[in-house]
C-alpha cells in the first residue's frame, strides 16, 4: 500500500526530533550501554567507542556514521516471485505482516473459546493459513512449536519452506550455530529476515542477542533491531524520557550492526509502550498512549531516513471480539500514517502476544483490507476520521454497528493518541536523562521509574476508557476459514 507524503502524521516538529536525537546521543556518549560481550566491546572500542567500567560509551560521530552507512534499501524475496517486495527508506510504501511467537492457540468450540498450548501442528496450520491471507505481505513465525530447543530453528525452517511462499521472518534465532542449517533448509537466504532484541531496557546489551546480531549481520541477513521499553518500569514514565532512551538503545544497535558490517541491513523497530501501573505492571500494547509513542518512534526512524519496522495491532483481548477489533484498527491506521515501512501487524494475535486464533486471523485480514481502503480512498481526511470510518465499516462487515457511546469512546481514544502532554524542551529533557542515569546506576532501576510515574498517573497519562461491547457475527469468518483448507487436507474447524 502506498500513502501520500501528506498523509504522514508529523507527531513531532523537526526541532523536537532533533532534541530527541541529541538527548539520545548524550545518553550514549555519557552513560553508554552495558556490554559484557568481550568481542563486541572490542569491536566497538576499535571503532572509536570508549569504555567506562562495563559500559561502552558511543560518541556522536559514530552514530552519524552508522546512520549514514546503514542500508537504505532492503529486498525481501520470497519463494513466490510475485510476493517479493523491497523496503526503500525514502518511499512511502507500507507492508503489513503477521506478528510472532505466541504460546497458545484459541479455538472456537461449541461452548465459546478454548485456549490450548501451541504445538508443531499449529505452526504448520497457521503458516498455511497466513500464506493465503490477502493482507499479509510477509509472515513472521506465529507460534512456538513443541520440539526440543536444539531442534527448534531447523524445525521451524522446514515448516516455513513447506508452507510459506511469502517473505519469511523467522523472528528469534534460537541458536546461532543453526543459522547455516536454516539457510540450507530454506534454500535461499534472501527469503529470510529476523528480529533481534539487542538491548534490555534500560541500556544493557543482551549478550546472547549480541551473538545473534553478529551471526546475522556477518551473513548479510536483514534483522529488525527491536527495543521494547515499558514506561514506568524499564523506562521513564514520561513520553519524552522513554523516547530518548528507546532511541539511544536502537542507535546503539545500528552502530554495532554497522561496525560488524558497514551497510548492515537493519530496521529500526521501536516499541515504547507503557506499563499497567493501575494493576500489575504488565505491558499496555494497544492502549492509546502506547499507540502514540510507537507511532512517534516510527517518525524518528523516518527522520533518520532508515528502514522502519512498525508494531501494531497487539490487542489485550483474550478472544476475538469488538473491543479487540477496534484496538487493532486504531493501531494499524496510526502506525501506517506514521511512516513505518514494514509492520508486524499482530494479525491473528490475542492476549497481547501470548495467543493466536485462526478466527482472529480471518477477522484481521478483513479488517486490515478495510483500513487500507480507507487510508487510500480519502487521503485528505484526518487520521481520526479514517479510523472511525474503518471501524464503522468493519463493524458493519461483521453484522453489527458502532453505537453512539462506542463512537464517543473511539473519539476519546483518538484524541488521547493525538494529544501531546509534555514539552520537548531542554530543561524537561535534562530531567528525564537524569532519571535514566539514576535508574541505570541502580540495580533495581524499575523502582526509580515507577516512583517517577506517580504524578503522571494522576494527571491521566494512561488512558482509562470503556470497552466496546458489540457482538460480532462470525459466520462469514467460519466460511472463509473453511475455504482455506488445502485440497484433500484440513484446516482448523
Amino acid at each position: 500500500m502506498r500513502l501520500l507524503k501528506d498523509q504522514r502524521i508529523p507527531w513531532l516538529t523537526p526541532e523536537e526530533l532533533k532534541a530527541v536525537h541529541q538527548g539520545s546521543c548524550r545518553l550514549l556518549s555519557q552513560i553508554g550501554v552495558k556490554v559484557t560481550h568481550e568481542r563486541i566491546a572490542r569491536l566497538l572500542a576499535d571503532s572509536g567507542a570508549h569504555s567506562r567500567g562495563s559500559r561502552m560509551c558511543i560518541p556522536e560521530h559514530l552514530v552519524d556514521k552508522a546512520l549514514s552507512d546503514t542500508a537504505k534499501v532492503i529486498d525481501f524475496n520470497a519463494p513466490d516471485p510475485n510476493k517479493r517486495f523491497t523496503v526503500d527508506a525514502a518511499a512511502d510504501e507500507v507492508r503489513f505482516g503477521t506478528g510472532g511467537q505466541a504460546l497458545y492457540v484459541v479455538h472456537r468450540t461449541a461452548d465459546g473459546w478454548e485456549k490450548r498450548p501451541a504445538v508443531t501442528g499449529d505452526l504448520r496450520q497457521i503458516l498455511t493459513l497466513c500464506d493465503q491471507l490477502d493482507q499479509a505481505d510477509f509472515v513472521t513465525r506465529p507460534v512456538e512449536c513443541d520440539v526440543p530447543e536444539e531442534q527448534m530453528d531447523i524445525e521451524k525452517a522446514k515448516l516455513f519452506r513447506a508452507h510459506c511462499t511469502k517473505p519469511m521472518n523467522l523472528a528469534n534465532l534460537v541458536h546461532t550455530k543453526n543459522l547455516d542449517g536454516i539457510i540450507e533448509v530454506i534454500g535461499d537466504q534472501s527469503y529470510l529476515s529476523f528480529i533481534v532484541c539487542l538491548v534490555a531496557s534500560p541500556l544493557s546489551m543482551d549478550t546472547s542477542a549480541g551473538d545473534k546480531l553478529l551471526a546475522l549481520v556477518e551473513k548479510g541477513l536483514p534483522a529488525a533491531l527491536s527495543s521494547c521499553p515499558q514506561a514506568g518500569s524499564t523506562a521513564p514514565f514520561s513520553e519524552v524520557g522513554e523516547l530518548i532512551q528507546l532511541n539511544a538503545e536502537l542507535l546503539f544497535g545500528i552502530v554495532l550492526a554497522n561496525t560488524i558490517r558497514p551497510g548492515a541491513k537493519v530496521l529500526y523497530r521501536g516499541i515504547p509502550i507503557t506499563s499497567d501501573l493501575y494493576t500489575d505492571g504488565s505491558p499496555r500494547w494497544c492502549q492509546p498512549e502506547s499507540i502514540r509513542r510507537v507511532a512517534i518512534a516510527a517518525q524518528i526512524s523516518r527522520w533518520y531516513g532508515i528502514p522502519c519496522c512498525g508494531t501494531a495491532g497487539v490487542s489485550d483481548q483474550g478472544v476475538p471480539n469488538a473491543q479487540g477489533l477496534s484496538e487493532k484498527i486504531l493501531s494499524w491506521s496510526v502506525m501506517a500514517a506514521s511512516g513505518a515501512h514494514y509492520i508486524n501487524s499482530a494479525l491473528g494475535m490475542l492476549q497481547q502476544v501470548m495467543s493466536v486464533s485462526p478466527y482472529q486471523y480471518v477477522i484481521d485480514d478483513a479488517a486490515l483490507r478495510i483500513v487500507k481502503e480507507e487510508l487510500t480512498a480519502s487521503p485528505q481526511r484526518s487520521i481520526g476520521d479514517t479510523v472511525l470510518a474503518s471501524v464503522q465499516r468493519a463493524f458493519s462487515y461483521f453484522g453489527t454497528s458502532l453505537d453512539e457511546p462506542s463512537e464517543q469512546e473511539m473519539r476519546s481514544r483518538i484524541a488521547h493518541v493525538e494529544t501531546a502532554k509534555e514539552p520537548y524542551d531542554e530543561a524537561y529533557m535534562n530531567k528525564q536523562i537524569e532519571s535514566i542515569e539514576k535508574a541505570v546506576a541502580r540495580e533495581s532501576g524499575s523502582s526509580i521509574f515507577m516512583k517517577g510515574a506517580r504524578k503522571g498517573l494522576r494527571e491521566g497519562y494512561l488512558y482509562t476508557g470503556e470497552s466496546i461491547p458489540a457482538e460480532l457475527d462470525l459466520e462469514k469468518v467460519r466460511k472463509r476459514l473453511a475455504s482455506y483448507a488445502p485440497e484433500g487436507g484440513e484446516i482448523y474447524e
Binding site: P117, T234, S275, T279, D280, S446
Partner: protein
Amino acid sequence: MSRKETVRDLEHSIIMGHIDSDDEGYDGMMEGTPGTMELVETALEEGIDPQDILTVFNEAMDQVGVKFESGEYLLPDMLASAECVGEAMEILEPKLAAGSGTGKGKFLIATVKGDLHDIGKNIVITMLKGAGYQVKDLGIDVPADDIVAAVREYQPDYVGLSALLTTTMIEMEHVVKKIREAGFNGVKIFIGGAPTSEEFARKIGADKHCRDAMDTIEKIEETRDVS
C-alpha cells in the same frame, strides 16, 4: 520533635512512599522534607524502641494495603511504601533484639539464564521486603548452577524464578530439576513471568505459579499456613 511526632511523621512518610529527602513522595511535593530513612534514624536517636518502630512499619503498610484495595492507591504508590519499609529495615534489623525480627522467612530470587528482564522480579522483591521477608536477589541471566550454589549457601525457605520470554521460560524446568537433584526437596519453588502458568508450574515440578507480587505474598502465606 517529640517522640509522638516522630512516630506520626514516620508513619505518614511510609504511607506517602517518601523514602528520603531527595524523593518527591506521593504528591510530588515532599522533596526536601525528611523521609522514611531520616525519620527512622531520628526515631532511633530519640531512643524509641526498635520493636515499636517495627510496629509503625506494620501499621503503615496495613493502611497502604487498605488504600490499594480501595483503588485510592495505585501500584507505584504501594511499591514506594514497600520500598520505604524494605530500605528502613536495613537500618532497623541490626537494632532488633535477636529473634525478635519479623521471622517470616528467607526468599531467594533470580531471573533465569538467558533472560535479562527484571521488572516483575523487582516488584516482587520490593513487596516481599515491605512485608518483612528477607530477600536475596541473584539478579538477571542467572545460570542454574549459580542458583543451586546460592540455595546451598543461603538456605532459603523459598526460591522464586522469573522469566519474561517464551524462549527462556524453559530454563526454569532445568533449574527446578537441579535444585531437587541437589537434595533441596523442602525448599518451595515459585515461578512467575508473563508466559508462565499454573499448568507450566505443574509440568516442571515447581510448587506454585504466581501471577504478580500480591499473589506471591498470598501464596507464601498459604504455604506457611500449611506447613
